[in-house]
Amino acid sequence: MEKTLTIRDLSVSFQATGGTVRAVRGVDLDLYQGETLAIVGESGSGKSVTVKAIMGIVSSNQTIDSGSICYRFQQDGEWTETELLNLSRNEMRQKINGTHIAMVFQDPMTSLDPTMSIGMQLMEGMMHHLHYSKAQARERALELLNMVGITDAEKRMKNYPHQLSGGMRQRVVIAIALSCRPDILICDEPTTALDVTIQAKILELIQEIQKKTGISVIYITHDLGVVAKVADYVAVMYAGRIVEKGTVEDIFYDPRHPYTWGLLSSMPDISTDAPDRLYTIPGSPPNMVDLPAGDPFAPRNPFALEADFKAEPPTFQISPTHYAATWLLDDRAPQVEMPESLRSRIQAMTEGGGARV
């Protein structure tokens, strides 16, 4: 499999009233062609900032402190490499945005321009990047609308966003993202704002498109159900850092980081009995303006070691695909097992035929 995106040591910070917020701290990630990568984390864990950095969308109070985002793509049959962080906003617009990397946003109710027809919003990218004539763009727009499952595409082209339901709007947003045949599709919580029934349909649609086009997808989500359903590879973020990453099997069947344990334990499943209190991770995420010394998760971590309060743990490699940043994996650490309830749950999942929910 070809690697299409290599992120190394990415750090992003921004200026807030209280001081500097270090939103993303030393993120390493790889994305392979045709693969689905899920980035999981609570609000404020830096997942959105990470993908916006990939898109080159950096707000004026934001700075990229270090790192590299290397994008590899096939051009005329040859693999070429571009360092995205070296491109200016305008170069990103001309060369990358829309044509190579496209994005689907969280809230379809607000992410379409209310004053422009659906058709025009679909066509404008193609006319700009691919230099399509209006007729060509129209033809492809109709094709795209059909592909994303919008019936009566002819009529919908003339519609304005407010005339469409949330699910339909998200389909249009997906069609817009796909219009210039990108290699990477970034979906920033694409189903969070939708009804549960529509959520599943949108996820299926993205999977179907992926199968057809071989596009790579990055999902941002806090919904582990979504992760289990779509992801090949998972990165768990906490306080701007990736605390654990691995294949979907690594994360769901062999989680190593106490934060991942907490996340998995707090996910309701079919065997959760009504009288059982659903597990919640105690405390709340740290203030990113002045992070405590040591591991930012330590104050909420029932398994925290003394070392966790003194120094931030390095990332340990568990297997060729599986990494976690916790002192529990250090040779000097005591043997700590995941909570019993989670263990039995994983066992039930394994016997029940997998983590697919």
Partner: protein, 311 residues
Amino acid sequence: MLKYIAKRVMISVITILIILAALFTMLHSMPGSPFNDEKITEVQRANLEAKYGLDQPLPVQFGNYLKAMLTGDFGVSYVIQKNMPISELLRARIPVSIRIGLQAVILGSVIGLLMGILAALKRNSPIDTSATVISVIGVAFPSYVFAMAMSYFIGFRLGWLPLLYSTTEAMRSTVMPTISLSFFSMATVARFARTEMVDVMGSDYMLLADSKGISSFRLLGVHGLRNALIPIVTVLAPLTVELMTGSLVVEQIFAIPGIGSLLVSAIQFNDYNVVLAVVFVYSVMFIAVMLAVDILYGVIDPRIRLAKEDG
């Protein structure tokens, strides 16, 4: 859309009728009459009032007035220019007022819009700060302060522009009145444009449009401006009111033969018909602006356009 406009025109006609009726009653219940001259006797005054039908009961007078108005006859002036038909009086004056008003609103909105957008794009920069200062001054000072200041410095000290309106130099003599009147519109539009533009720039649809990689010109000009314009159009209607009231004073300062100065003298002299006619013209202009704003809304915002087609 047509149905909607027809409905709006109907409502406008009724509004104007109510305004006229209220004004008619108020004017006639004021003490005094157009013929408050110490030199004429009671008998002469009664004769004069009978001549113009002022001795009849108020509702009859109002009915007669409306009847005549429908044929374009606004009656004659009693005092200002004796027995001059008001339609003729207005004919020469309306174009002058409208010209200055239009120039002021266009100048004000265009410059205000540019200022506001620039301030929004360069937020917290010196450009933004100076735009804010100019807006605050523009909103805080009434237009006649600018009119006085300009006529002193530019008209009197520097002598660049005519101090008073002259028909032979119509263009040059409208410059100062236009600028002084446009300050308020400019300031208001600039403030609104800045706020709206900042809002729109932070919206999700701008983020999505940006992620398409279209040119920044198209991003701001097509997606940004159009959405920011919707609320800005709203302030245009109250701005015209300000222009009208502002013009009352500014026309006096520059001795402009417009309807604003006519109204002021008509009220001073109890010249009923002139007051009524000028207020009628003002009401029609204001309602026309409101209607235009409503239609403009529909043109800019498909949500309003389509909702109106349904209803």
